[in-house]
Every structure is written in C-alpha cells, then in structure tokens.
Symmetry: C2
Subunit: 335 residues, 2 copies
C-alpha cells in the first residue's frame, strides 16, 4: 500500500553515481555532464521521484513558506488579497500559510509566534483594528525574517508597506457628491484610532474644503466599532434640525443600513439624500438602489506585497518602500 518515497539515494544506486552528483543533476547547477544530467532526470521521472522539501529546508535553512496574518478571511477584501498573494507565491515557488487574527491583537501575536516557529521565510501582515504595539514585528525582523505590511500598516515601524490611498478614495467619493449638487454632506466615520478610517475622514474633510463647503461638526460621526453602533449614529443624523442631503460612510455595510433606514422614513435615495459607501462589497450591487462605492485594488495589493516580500527574502532588494495604490469610484444609482 504505502509505497515508500524514492530518494536521491535510490537514484544514485541505480545509476551507480554518488548522491552528490545526482543532487547536482537535479538542480540548476553547472559542473555537471549534460549526459549524466539527462540520465538522472530520465530515471527521476520514471521512478516518480519528488525532492523532499523538508530535507532541503533543513540544510538550506529556508522553508519556502510565507506566513500571512490577516483579520478575517470571510471579508471579501482579504479573500481577494490572499488570492493575489497565492498567485505570486506560486509563480515563485513559495507556499502560503495563513492565519486569521479575528481582530484580536493577542490572537495576532500568537499566530505570528506559531508561524515563526514553523520557520517561515517571510511574513505578510494586515494588523488588527486594535494593534498598536510594534514590538512583536520587530522581533520577527530581528530574527532575519522580512515583514511586509499590506492594507493596514503600523506607522512607527521600518518595514515595507503596501497600502491603498484611503484619502484619495474618500476625496473622490465626496467630490462626486459635491458635483451632484450636494452641499450638506455627512460622514459616518470609523474608529478614531484606526489609520485607514482617519485617512478616509481626512479625504472627506479636504474635499469639502477644496470646494469651499463649510464643515458642520454635527455631520461627522464616529462608529467606534464599525458596525454595531452604526444605527444610532444614523438616527442621530436625522434628528438634526438641518438634515443632510448626502451621506458618505466608512464602509458599505453602514451605507446599506443607511439606505434601509431612509426607506423606512420615506426619504428617497438618491433624490432626497444620496448615499456613498466604501469597499465595493458584494452587497453594494444588491441593495436597491445599488450603492455607489469606492473599490480598492485588493488583489493587486496582495500581489505587490508578496512580490516585494519575496524580493526582500531573496535579497534582491534590501531597502524598504511604502507603495500606495489608488482606488476607483464606482458610480451606481444611490447618488
């Protein structure tokens, strides 16, 4: 049943060669007789030889596995980023091993420790909402394992980062609302300590400023946890004297909640109030009216981050970059 794996030794014996010669023949090294190489390769194929990664790792001190830690795989954005990573990893002979932090810094840390103990060659991470400590990442770097941050990066750490220009995406969204004639534009923002949320908020603020629209403090509300306190913020907005004529939200699920709430109130979207979300989540196509939103290049982020990480692993590059990718506004009927 269990037909043992054929090893380099078996090949050597059958060919009356030494294992080192066989080893050389199997790889792309010079100093090998083409004819010998041919024979070895032929026999290897015939016997269905497969190099043993484990043994190779032990001597080379590199596993060809890249660790990935991200908040949650069930989010479309991260699933797409991961797909991009797998594509590039595959093309370069690397394997991906990923873990989710579930937005918990503790779980994030334990995942990282686990990956490091497996001897990953490099680490790709998108930090949890509450991560602020750089120490663990520095420890990884000190071990000689390159770290690349994607999407959500820590500010005060010297490492390569691939992020998306949140400010620009938000600016585009708000500019679009302004051009549609909206002047009382509210923003339901994300957590105050989360950099991507702050960037989006600043994009909102700067767009208002550029078009000389006075900023109304009452139109800016923060959801501290992205989701569960959203409804009360929305309600607060429509209890104001001066109701907004547009809402830009930090993500699509909040935008969808807005649309539902407005419908209940008999307020028309987009005629009375326009709504724009963020992320191009699948739900955005399905609500009615379909949601205008900002699409981030998640797949590209994954690909680029992985490529840069591999470059660092293979020492092709030694310095750190911060690449910032652009987003795209997708205009649908909610605005």
């Amino acid at each position: 049943m269990l037909n043992k794996q054929v090893t380099i030794k078996d090949l050597a014996r059958k060919l009356r060669l030494s294992v080192s010669t066989v080893s050389r023949a199997l790889r792309d090294v010079q100093d090998i007789n083409p004819e010998t190489k041919r024979q070895v390769l032929a026999l290897a194929k015939e016997l269905n030889y497969e190099p043993n990664f484990i043994a190779r790792s032990l001597v080379n001190k590199q596993t060809k596995v890249i660790g990935v830690v991200l908040p949650v795989i069930a989010a479309r954005y991260f699933a797409n980023a991961l797909s991009g990573m797998m594509e590039v990893a595959d093309a370069n002979g690397y394997h991906i091993m990923f873990c989710q932090s579930d937005e918990s810094p503790e779980k994030e840390a334990s995942n990282i420790k686990k990956l490091v103990s497996i001897r990953i060659d490099g680490l790709l991470v998108s930090v949890s909402k509450c991560t602020s400590d750089t120490e663990i990442f520095q420890k990884v770097q000190q071990r000689g394992i390159p770290v690349v941050f994607f999407d959500r990066a820590l500010e005060h750490i010297d490492a390569t980062k691939v992020t998306v220009n949140q400010h620009e995406g938000a600016f585009l969204a708000v500019e679009h609302l302004i051009r549609k004639g909206c002047t009382k534009i509210a923003h339901i923002a994300g957590p105050r300590h989360l950099s991507i949320a702050i960037d989006r908020m600043n994009g909102y603020l700067d767009a208002l400023q550029k078009y000389n629209i006075p900023f109304n403090k009452e139109y800016l509300l923060h959801c501290e946890d992205f989701q569960y306190d959203a409804m009360e913020k929305i309600q607060a907005l429509f209890n104001l004297e001066e109701k907004p004529d547009a809402i830009f939200t930090v993500n699509d699920s909040i935008a969808v909640l807005c649309i539902k709430y407005l419908k209940e109130l008999g307020i028309r979207v987009p005629e009375d109030v326009a709504v724009v979300g963020y992320n191009n989540d699948p739900v955005s196509e399905v609500v009615w009216p379909a949601l205008t939103t900002v699409m981030q290049p998640s797949f590209e982020v994954g690909k680029l981050a992985t490529q840069l990480l591999i470059d660092e692993i293979e020492q092709k590059s030694t310095q750190h970059f911060h690449k910032v990718l652009s987003s795209e506004l997708i205009v649908r009927s909610s605005s």
Copy 2:
C-alpha cells in the same frame, strides 16, 4: 542582527547533558529524571528555545500540516468552513495549508500534487464543479495520506466524507412555501451534473409529491453554470401562460436576481410571488424584501471534517464514514 536559533545542542552543552537526554526531557516521554527534566525546561524557556519543526518532520516523517483544496475562498461558505478547520487543526497542533481550484479540475490536480510534494499528513478537499475522476485522490491515499471530502464529495471513492443534507434543506424550503399556500412553485436548479444541485432538485420534487402538488415540467429550469444564464431562465418563467406563485432557487444570487426582476415587472414579493434562496449568503439579509433561505452549517462541516481527518492520520480510526449534517431554514420577508 540575525541571532541564531538556539538548538537542542546548545541546551545540552550548557547543562552538560547529552542531546538525547535533552530531547527526551523536552517531550512527554518516560525514562527521564524529573529533576533533569525541570532543569532542561527551565533553561529552554530562559534561552527561548523553540523546537525545529523541520528537523522533527524529517525524522518523524510527518509534517503536522493538513492540505486543503477548495473551489474558491471568496465564497462565504468556504471561508467559514476553512475557519472551522483552522480551529480544530490548531487545537490539535496541526497547521493548515490551503489552495483554491477556481472550479478547475486541472488546477485542483496541480494543487494536490503540490501539497503532496510538501508531504502533507492529510488532505481535505471539496471538489470543483467538474471533477469526476477519482484517480488522483486514490493516488494520494495510496501514498498513505488520508483524504477527507467535505461539502462536495465524489461518489465512487472510498473515503470519509462530511456533507450537508441538500435534499432536506430543499425539502424544508419547499414545504415552507406550500404551507404558506403556494401551489405553483417553480425551481431554478443548478448544473445537471453537480450532485448538490441534483439533491436540492430532488428535495423540491419530493416535497411537491408529499403534498400532492402536481409537478409542472415548465416550472423546472436548469442553470448550467449557476449564474450567467440565470436571467434568461427567470424571464422564461414569467413568459409562461400559467405564472408561478413561488420560486425556489438553487442559490441566493439567483434568488436576488429574481427579486430584482419581479420588482421591475411590478410583481410584488411575497404577495404575488414568494422567493426562497439557498446558502444564507450575506446578500440575503440586504435585499429588500429580505430573502428566506437555507443556511448550511459550514463552520461545523469544517470542524468535523478536520477532526475525522486527524483521527485517521493518528490512526484513531481506520474506517471511513459519511457524515451528513442538517441545514436550517431561515424565514425572512420574501416568503
């Protein structure tokens, strides 16, 4: 910078012990002086020793990694199943390495080959829509690597399988429509060769039969690729003389399309036509009216499949099971 990993040898030297004694102390083996063990453990902690998985794998001939191949990670169902897998794997000291087949049998096969060459200890797979050949899986088994199928399994292969009772889920959905008073119930089914789609269709048929509702051939339509040909089927349905008063669809995205189309036609949901989907996709909560749908226990599927696989790997069980889990009908306002 690169502070070398401390090895078992370092511990041995400092403690003036032999490596084999240290090795024993580090593991749960008998034949070791408790005091010696204590010392070794203490020093190990102090020096931050971490056992080298790679070296251990090489001698033990087991990697503690489980390979997972699934169609696509961006689908909520699979993301959840994978989360369940990671939970159980983690709790048992295993790691997960996953690949997506993108519904291509070729990519599926190459992923499996890749995983096998990494020397995974076991394989978890949900086959692509078009996979029918059992050969590759048998080859994996012959290598002594246990295979467990989850969600989508191949029929003609002797292996442990964890699936969801599609027939029952569909039956529940249709029964619910019948109890609501619907009698002209249409079904937009999935591909004819895909077993889960066939099971759902049979659940539909059997529910009709049980309640003595005559089957109308015109009310049964197949989408051969799940998505892109859905719209024409829906239209066909409403070009019939005798229009249906309910539609049960093979998945939620088709159900959502139905709702949209019915709205355009000015047909009220659920008053004129009730709609029920399948999967409890996030979109089902967001459409209006919110979609009644069947929720599959994907997380549980992942957990159970992994537990059974680990049992097989560790020889706790040697025979194969086929576990079938139940689904739940989630009633919302579309029916």
